[in-house]
Structures are given as structure tokens and as C-alpha cells.
């Protein structure tokens, strides 16, 4: 059943943003109605809160008041003229009139002028039924246009259809500047402007360019803000207005934006960012807003398939046969090779409920703890590092907390590309004057934030994070910048003293570290002083911290820095991992790791294990299972024989591709459950169709621990949601699971997981979202962690010795390669490559500094062979000064690029998180693809040929 959620309580546009809720109350009288609102509220908003709806066009509550359209004119007793209600703040005792003959005439005159230069094609206009101009013409009672329509006008203005997702029709523009202001205030890109003056004023992208040629990042904020059809989604132009909508959660990055999926029957017409969404407050990025076409792409696998060996064609079968085939194979392998010879990988793209079920299947039905998830290769060091120092494996803040930060450190993260909606919020705070410190080998776009107050870039060498964070902490300690009160009250004294002695050693000074990190001592000292002294200091970090041989050490180094300066436990501070995939926090919470049951309860914890054993009716292994890289090693070695992979593409995303391929080929049974024939599925024996986020109910948990509902808007294309498939497989293995709806799975999670004890679908409906811990102690959830104490009692400083990675540049491999992501593509690209986002990034490129390029005779767009100790691949060159000399950079969004053929199996010492960020390479001009790429092309061709003909035909563009 499709569940609808009534957004009306949030949908009303109150005209101007809310002021601080704790501002002094002010009482005013509007049209005889007494209203009390916080000081700073506009008359327009105060009236709207009392359901007195003053006409408006240029005002919307996502943007600051602008006062240009004159439609919201009102009269204030004792004041002259007719001030705009949007720009007039309430004052104690103010008496306002919003409707009388004078105001009606004024508004009609305003509308008359607008309409005299507007095409009268309402009946065929794409905004028909959703046009504020049309609504206001009706509201003010416009009956004639005395000026006629023959005068000078903009009706022939040239349209711009260059963006793949929306059109720009300036003939319909009323120059209200909402789009320009949205680009500035909400998105922070400043790509739009009003060009010209007076009658010649017009909206222009960039330097009067086409949208696609401008700096526009296609976030959709302008489209969302436009009150007419000037900026309009092409999907609405094609399909017409949607007829119902469902609130759900985006399935892209870890920001977890809420969207209204606007539907026509079971057709998704558009995704509109939901103003009531606690993570995104009505903003979006190009992926969540527009790149949803993959969900109904012809490449979708909709029928289960099986085969005996991977050199055989797939055979389409029914669900029952496929599940029975998989179960028989798993049982036979366990019978021959032992209980521990099989395992599974849960999906950070699937829901909490689905992830929970897969790890339950593995622990209870497989009878071992060989479960892992893609967090292994991204944020497992966050789990280890934060649990060790702060006692909880999660970020400490809400996203909104950044608006209270005075100094923001961003380490190894690229929020404008990888977490764009949060990146926009951060930019808003930076425009307000917060200081920015970026520690990154690359000059990331955040440093180019328009109107940035104060930015410091620490361009460290890849692999030297720990030396840098130690140097920062050294400055804090030796310059007396510690928060001694906080340390005394909240931290373990013995651990602190040991750490303090360690970090105060001269070898950690910025001067001593300079030769390691490449960052000047002066810059490090300035950054440390800024962070420790300007007020609230907040640290945000990403995979540039975790994906190193010292990823866990660096996470602890960050926690040390926050503890030493007292930047923990309140708004505006904290340690904030920016999680990669939509539900990577959730997949960790749900017990995907081999050593932890749901809620980070160790498998050796007898009390916790007993609760699960009682609920699940089986004895559970008290030893940790294999992690993903251990599974690969064991597969090659011959002791690990079967793997169930739900919604992950390890063949593309994991490092040292040739090692992964060898492991997958070694398996006797690989079961892949995915919406596409992904790279991993090409090595599979059973292919179970997955369901997209649009096809099921459940929850995702974002990077701020926020549990958000995912709501089904269409039936699963293959007939089953992913959780139903896992239930079927469990039953076939002789371990029946009885659930009628994902809400029942969440009820079980709540019963067994202390931090989720208060979570239920009913509560999520009531609250919109909940941040864990949500339990008796925190019945409404916990926006900020560690306010009063830590789960481990006191914060624990950790000794963070810098140990240089074994992956070092030398004469044979003189450059260091680091990998990352870009805005338009997502992870392995399986989703975004099947959308029009391809127009922005249809191949992975190798960014190289011009000086390194010149040394090698390389020019832009040359084909480059990139060799490492692990392998070789070929990419085209992009010369870029964003990299420092000696460092090259690429992305891994396209499987044929083979970026991970080059990355090695070096990994974090504590968690085995791969060291994607440091690979020593050599680069040279070449004329043909690498041997691996040629093998990949051939294998891909053969495997596509193994699909049933009907699937191949449908997938043909």
C-alpha cells in the first residue's frame, strides 16, 4: 500500500523567514486580530501565521525579504504611505490594515503592469495550476489591462533549453529576483544576476551565458523559487502538473534530504525538496532534485536469474526457483566447507530495516558473523576512532549546528561536491563571517565561496594528516589554548596527562612537522589559534581523513583536538564525519560490521548477545566475522566460498580491482541483489532484482544520526522490495522471518537496540524525523551528543603517533594519486550514469598539475597511462592547478576507468579501511587502453551478451 503523508502543515509559504524563536515576543493587531510573534518577524509573516494572506510575488519564506513587487503593500496606523509588509518588521502595538479599497486599487495597478508584459497563454502554460502570478491576478481581482499588449515587451525573449532538466523562458519572467536570490542565499553559487536596468532588467546566468555555460550547478533552487513558469522542470513541461505527492528521503548522499515525490499515478513527475525536511529545509542538489530517471531506466533488472557458472548465459526464472537455487547452493557449500565458508554484505543504499535483516540472516541463518558493509571502505575508522575517544560511533551535531560555528575546519572533505546541500548551508555561515580552515591537498571549491570572510588553506601532502593534526594540537597545548575547565570536568585525567606529555614534545611542533606535511609552521599556528580562540570551533571531515593507513588515528586526533579546546557537547562545535552514502550511518547502526550487533553492541558481550539470541531463537557466534578485505583474501586462499551482496558494487568500488576480481572468480556461489547488472553481478551465479528507494517503505539514517522515513511511491518493478527477498531467502534456509511491513522490523530493532528504543513509525510520523539516541532518556531524540557526559563516562584522549604510510613515492612511482568525487556523479555511478547528469561528467579524468604535465610533455586531454604497484589504467589528462605539484587526482564514477585498478590494498591499521587517498604512481602519455581495460571491455561485452535477449533489447538506447 502506498502511504501518503500530508505536507500541508509545512507547505504554507509564510513570505519571509522566521526570526530567532527566542526573540522577545511582540504583539500587533492585523485586521483587528491580535497576534504575538517574535521580534524581527515581518508583518507579512505575522499576518500569514494568523491565516491573513496578504498578496505577494517577490516574497517567499526561504529568502530574505526584498520588497520589490509592491503587491504586499499594507497600511500601518499612524504611518504614511503603504509600506511593503515583507520588509516591515512588527513593532509592539502596531495596527495594520491589509485589505481596503486603496490597497486593492494599488495591487490591481501593480498586477496590471505585470500582465501588460506577460504572454496570455495560461491554458497552455506548463505552470497552469501552479503559478503564483496567475493566483495573484485572481486574488487582486484583475479584470482589465488598460495599457494593452502592443507596447514594448519581452514576449519574444529567447528561451534557453541548454540545461537537461529545466528550461528558462524569460518571456514569462516578472524580474522578482527570487531565482537570483535563491542562487545567492540558498545555494551560495551566485551564478545568476539581474542584467540591465529598468525596463531592460532581465535574469541572466553568468556573463549572460546559457545556463549550461554558466557557473550554475543545477541545484534547482531557482526553479523552486520561480513564481511563474520562467524556470520550469522539463519533466513537468512534458507530463503536466502532478496530482499527488509523497514525502520521502533522497537515496543519494549522507545528507539525507527530504523530498516531495510528486506523482501522476505511479509516474514520478518531479522531486521537489521538502521545506519541512529537517536535514535540508527545502534545498536540494542536482542529484536528488533531478537525477531520478535511473529508477525506471530500461537497464533495470526485473526478473530473477540464475546460472551454474559465470561463463554461462543467464536463465530467467521465477522468484521461488531463484531463491531455492541460492539456498541450496549456500547449504551445500556450508555442508562441505563449514559454517564460516559463506558470508554477506549489507547495503548502505538500502533501508535500515533491510540492512538489519541481511545481518540477521547472516548471523542467525548462516550461523556466523561474516557480515560487513561498504562503510568498511569509507567510514569504519570513524566508528573506531569516535567510539574509542568519545564513546559513540557517530557525528556529534545536527547540520544546522554549523550556523552557530565561528571557526570551521574542513579536513579531507569536499562538501560542495559530495554533500552539496550541507555545503550550501556551510557557505551561508561562511558568508556571515565564520572563519574557514581547509586541510586538503587540493584547493577545493569551498575555498572559492563568494563573500568568504576569512579562509586558510593548509595544502598538506597526502598521507600526512596525523602529523598535521598533532601539530595543531601541539600549538593548542604549548600556547595555553586548552579549555582546562572542560578537560577537568569532562575528560579522563590520566589519559589527558599522557596525551599532553606526548603532544607537547617538540617533534610535534609545526616547525618540526613542516618537512613532513609541506604546510608552513606559520599557517599551522594561525589555524590552531583561530580554531581554539574565536569561539565555537567545529570540525567536519570526510574520506580524506578515513581512507588512509592511519585513518583511525586521524579520527582520534580530531577528537583530541575537540576535547582539548572544549569544542564538544553544544551547538556550533563538535566532530562531524560527513558520511558518504545515503544510509551508511544506518548500515553501521544496524549491526553490519562483523564484530558488532545492532547498536554497536559487541558480539562478545554476553548480555547483549543473549537478548538477540532470545529474540531470534538461535545461538549466536561470539567471535567477530570476516571483514570485506578478509573475505577477499579468504576467497582467494580457498576457505571462503559464497557471498550474498545486497546493493553494493564491490567490483568497482573496492581497491585493487584485480585482487577483487580474483576473489569473486574464486567463489562457488555469488548472489547479487541489485537494481542493475552492476560490475559485481557479472561474476554472480544468482541475480536477484533489487528495488529502488521509490518502491519500498523504510528508513534511512543520515550523517547527523537523523532517522528519516522512506515512503513507497510506486510498486516494486520486480514485484518485491529488498526486505521481502531477504525474508524469502531466510525462509528457504530454514529460518523463517515473519514480517508484514517494515514498521514491524523497526519495532524489533527498537526492542533490541538501546539507542533506538524509542523509535517507531508512529513516532516518526509525528516528529517527521528523529536523531538517535532516542529512548527513555531522550524521548524526542538527541540533536547534540555528549552534552553532559560521554557514553564511556569521560572523554578519552588517545596517543596519536604519526606513522608514515608504506605507500611512498619513489623514482619508479614519483607522484602521489588521490581519489575523490564530483558533484554530478554519485559513488560508482550506477545511478547517475543512467541519467542526464552524464552531460557534466561522462568520463573520469586525471587531474595533473601543469608543472608535472610539462615535465612529461603532457597536454590537456592527452591519454595518460597511470601505473602503480597494483596495476595500470588509462585516463585522459586535465591540467589543473587545484593540485599541488607531485599530486594527481581522479574519480571512480565510471567502471571502465579502472581507477581502483591502481589503488592498492594498503589499509587502515585498525579497521582495514583501504588507503584510497594515497597511491604512488607514474604517469606517461600512451596511445591505447591498458591491458586491464581491454580485458574489462571484453568481459563486459561477454557478460552483457549473457543477459536474456529481451533484457538486452530493452537496455539498448
Amino acid at each position: 500500500m502506498i502511504q501518503h503523508f500530508d505536507p500541508s502543515q509545512h507547505a504554507k509559504d509564510l513570505g519571509t523567514p522566521a526570526p530567532d524563536a527566542d526573540a522577545t515576543p511582540v504583539s500587533v493587531e492585523i485586521d483587528g486580530v491580535e497576534i504575538t510573534v517574535p521580534e524581527g518577524t515581518s508583518v507579512l509573516r505575522a499576518a500569514a501565521l494568523a491565516d491573513i494572506n496578504i498578496p505577494k510575488l517577490c516574497a517567499t519564506d526561504s529568502l530574505e525579504a526584498f520588497g520589490s513587487c509592491r503587491l504586499c503593500a499594507v497600511q500601518v496606523e499612524g504611518k504614511r504611505g503603504t509600506p511593503a509588509a515583507c520588509t516591515t518588521p512588527v513593532a509592539e502595538g502596531m495596527r495594520v490594515t491589509t485589505q481596503n479599497d486603496r490597497l486593492a486599487r494599488l495591487r490591481r495597478n501593480v498586477m496590471e503592469l505585470y500582465i501588460s508584459d506577460h504572454p496570455l497563454d495560461c491554458l497552455t502554460c506548463p505552470a497552469n495550476g501552479d503559478c503564483e502570478l496567475q493566483d495573484m491576478a485572481g486574488t487582486v481581482g484583475l479584470r482589465e489591462v488598460r495599457y494593452g499588449f502592443e507596447g514594448e515587451n519581452h514576449l519574444a525573449a529567447e528561451q534557453d533549453h541548454s540545461n537537461p532538466y529545466f528550461s528558462f523562458d524569460p518571456s514569462k519572467c516578472i524580474v522578482c529576483s527570487r531565482c537570483v536570490r535563491a542562487c545567492e542565499e540558498v545555494q551560495g553559487t551566485f551564478a545568476l544576476t539581474i542584467d540591465g536596468r529598468g525596463f531592460d532588467s532581465k535574469v541572466a546566468a553568468g556573463q549572460d551565458e546559457a545556463f549550461m555555460d554558466s557557473e550554475c550547478v543545477s541545484c534547482g533552487a531557482c526553479v523552486q523559487a520561480c513564481p511563474t513558469s520562467t524556470l520550469m522542470e522539463k519533466s513537468v513541461i512534458d507530463a503536466g502538473q502532478p496530482e499527488h505527492s509523497v514525502i520521502t528521503t533522497c537515496a543519494y548522499c549522507g545528507v539525507g534530504c527530504s523530498f516531495e515525490a510528486q506523482m501522476k499515478g505511479d509516474q514520478l513527475v518531479r522531486m521537489v525538496p521538502y521545506k519541512g525536511g529537517d536535514a535540508n529545509h527545502g534545498h536540494s542538489c542536482v542529484k536528488g532534485r533531478f537525477a531520478f530517471g535511473y529508477a525506471t531506466h530500461p537497464d533495470r533488472i526485473t526478473t530473477p536469474m540464475i546460472r551454474e557458472a559465470i561463463d554461462q548465459p543467464w536463465r530467467e526464472v521465477g522468484w521461488e526457483e531463484a531463491i531455492a537455487f541460492a539456498a541450496e547452493r549456500l547449504q551445500a557449500i556450508q555442508a562441505e566447507h563449514g559454517r564460516e565458508s559463506i558470508g554477506g554484505i549489507t547495503s548502505s543504499r538500502c533501508t535500515n530495516e533491510e540492512t538489519y535483516l541481511v545481518q540477521k540472516l547472516i548471523r542467525a541463518a548462516f550461523g556466523n558473523n561474516n557480515t560487513d558493509t561498504c562503510a568498511r571502505v569509507c567510514h569504519s575508522p570513524t566508528g573506531y576512532g569516535l567510539k574509542t575517544t568519545l564513546g559513540e560511533s557517530a557525528g556529534t551535531q545536527t547540520f544546522d549546528s554549523v550556523m552557530q560555528a565561528d571557526a570551521i575546519i574542513v579536513i579531507g572533505a569536499n562538501p560542495t561536491d559530495a554533500h552539496p546541500v550541507f555545503g550550501s548551508l556551510m557557505r551561508r555561515r561562511l558568508r556571515q563571517g565564520a572563519s574557514l580552515i581547509v586541510a586538503d591537498p587540493r584547493r577545493i571549491d569551498l575555498l572559492k565561496t563568494p563573500h568568504l570572510a576569512d579562509a586558510q588553506h593548509l595544502p598538506l601532502r597526502p598521507g600526512t594528516n596525523v602529523a598535521l593534526v598533532n601539530a595543531l594540537a601541539h600549538v593548542v597545548v604549548t600556547e595555553g589554548l586548552e579549555d582546562h575547565d572542560f578537560i577537568a570536568a569532562r575528560c579522563d585525567t590520566q589519559a589527558y596527562r599522557a596525551w599532553r606529555d606526548f603532544i607537547a614534545e617538540e617533534r610535534h611542533s609545526p616547525e618540526a612537522s613542516e618537512a613532513i606535511t609541506g604546510v608552513t609552521a606559520e599557517a599551522v599556528r594561525r589555524a590552531a589559534r583561530t580554531y581554539a580562540t574565536v569561539g565555537n570551533g567545529a570540525i567536519y571531515y570526510g574520506l580524506g581523513v578515513t581512507e588512509h593507513s592511519q585513518g583511525s588515528t586521524m579520527v582520534m586526533g580530531i577528537a583530541n583536538l575537540a576535547l582539548a579546546t572544549g569544542n564538544i557537547g553544544r551547538e556550533g562545535v563538535g566532530v562531524n564525519p560527513l558520511r558518504g552514502q545515503n544510509n551508511v550511518q544506518g548500515s553501521c547502526d544496524m549491526g553490519s560490521f562483523p564484530h558488532e550487533l545492532p547498536g554497536y553492541q559487541h558480539v562478545a558481550d554476553a548480555e547483549a548477545r543473549a537478548r538477540f539470541e532470545a529474540a531470534w531463537g538461535v545461538a549466536l557466534d561470539d567471535e567477530p566475522g570476516l571483514r570485506i578485505p578478509n573475505m577477499f583474501d579468504a576467497a582467494i586462499e580457498g576457505s571462503f566460498k559464497a557471498l550474498y551482496v545486497q546493493g553494493e558494487d564491490i567490483a568497482q568500488s573496492d581497491p585493487n580491482t584485480q585482487h577483487v576480481e580474483a576473489a569473486l572468480k574464486s567463489l562457488q556461489c555469488l548472489i547479487v541483489q541489485d537494481i542493475f547488472l552492476n560490475e559485481t553481478a557479472k561474476y554472480a551465479h544468482v541475480l536477484l532484482p533489487g528495488s529502488s528507494f521509490l518502491e519500498k517503505d523504510g528508513t534511512f539514517t543520515n550523517a547527523e544520526r537523523r532517522i528519516n522515513r522512506v515512503r513507497k511511491v510506486m510498486a516494486p518493478l520486480a514485484g518485491k522490495a529488498d526486505w521481502e527477498v531477504t525474508v524469502d531467502l531466510a525462509r528457504a534456509l530454514g529460518y523463517p522471518m515473519e514480517y508484514g511491513h517494515p514498521s514491524e522490523i523497526m519495532d524489533e530493532i527498537a526492542r533490541l537496540t538501546p539507542s533506538f528504543a524509542g523509535v517507531s513509525y508512529a513516532k516518526l510520523e509525528a516528529h517527521g524525523s528523529l536523531q538517535w539516541p532516542c529512548n527513555a532518556e531522550h524521548p524526542d531524540g538527541t540533536p547534540t551528543l555528549h552534552e553532559n557526559d560521554f557514553p564511556i563516562g569521560r572523554g578519552r584522549f588517545a596517543i596519536t603517533e604519526y606513522v608514515a604510510t608504506e605507500e611512498r613515492a619513489n623514482r619508479r612511482f614519483p607522484l602521489l594519486m588521490t581519489t575523490g568525487r564530483i558533484l554530478s556523479q554519485y559513488n560508482v555511478g550506477a545511478q547517475t550514469r543512467r541519467t542526464n547528469n552524464q552531460v557534466w561528467h561522462d568520463e573520469d579524468l586525471l587531474e595533473i598539475h601543469p608543472s608535472d604535465a610539462e615535465l612529461r610533455g603532457i597536454q590537456d586531454s592527452d591519454w595518460l597511462g597511470i601505473s602503480s604497484r597494483a596495476g595500470q589504467t588509462v585516463l585522459r589528462a586535465r591540467l589543473s592547478e587545484r593540485m599541488q605539484p607531485g599530486v594527481v587526482y581522479t574519480t571512480f564514477h565510471h567502471p571502465g576507468s579502472g581507477a581502483n585498478v591502481i589503488t592498492t590494498d594498503n589499509s587502515d591499521w585498525a579497521t582495514n579501511c583501504p588507503e584510497y587517498k594515497v597511491t604512488a604512481v607514474q604517469v606517461e602519455k600512451v596511445s591505447q587502453p591498458s591491458a586491464w581495460q581491454r580485458r574489462f571491455e571484453e568481459f563486459d561485452r561477454v557478460q552483457r551478451g549473457h543477459l536474456p535477449e529481451v533484457v538486452q533489447r530493452e537496455a539498448t538506447p
Binding site: E340, N369, N370, A498, F502, S549, Q550, S552, T553, P594, H595, H602, A604, D622, E623, P624, G625, L626, R627, N630, D633, A634, E637, S639, I799, E801, V803, W909, A910, T911, N912
Partner: protein, 77 residues
């Protein structure tokens, strides 16, 4: 367990020692490394690294051997 697998596990133990033991005396260091292996390593990996104690030239450092011997005494496997 192959020689390559052994080498990989030994490398992992040595890496754990390099990161986990600075600032600790030998007893505390061995206990800490043992606790890490106990908490995070799978049973077959533990068994393999314990088996390395009986082999020559595995590359286990003195502290690594001490830590693994301690793991062996836990006798939970």
C-alpha cells in the same frame, strides 16, 4: 593458510603495534594489541596468526609474538 596470507596477517599485526603501542610499556602494549585482535579479528585470522608462532621467519616482531601468545592464552577459539 598460505604464506601470502600469513604475511598479510603479520603485516597487519605489525601495523597495529606501530599505531597502538607508542607511549605504553611492553606489558601494556602486548595487552592492548591482544585486546584489539580479540575484539576485531575473525576466528580464522586469530587461528592463523597463532599458528604463525610455530613457524620460522614469519616476520612477527618480538612484541607481536608476545601479543599473539597472550591471545593464544585466551583459549576462546
Amino acid at each position: 593458510m598460505s604464506h601470502e596470507q600469513d604475511a598479510q596477517l603479520v603485516r597487519m599485526v605489525n601495523q597495529i603495534i606501530a599505531n597502538l603501542t607508542p607511549g605504553r610499556d611492553q606489558d601494556a602494549a602486548a595487552a592492548e594489541v591482544c585486546a584489539h585482535l580479540e575484539k576485531f579479528w575473525a576466528r580464522p585470522m586469530k587461528q592463523s596468526i597463532i599458528a604463525c608462532l610455530e613457524k620460522d621467519d614469519t616476520g612477527l616482531s618480538t612484541l607481536a609474538k608476545r601479543s599473539v601468545r597472550l591471545l593464544k592464552t585466551k583459549d576462546r577459539l
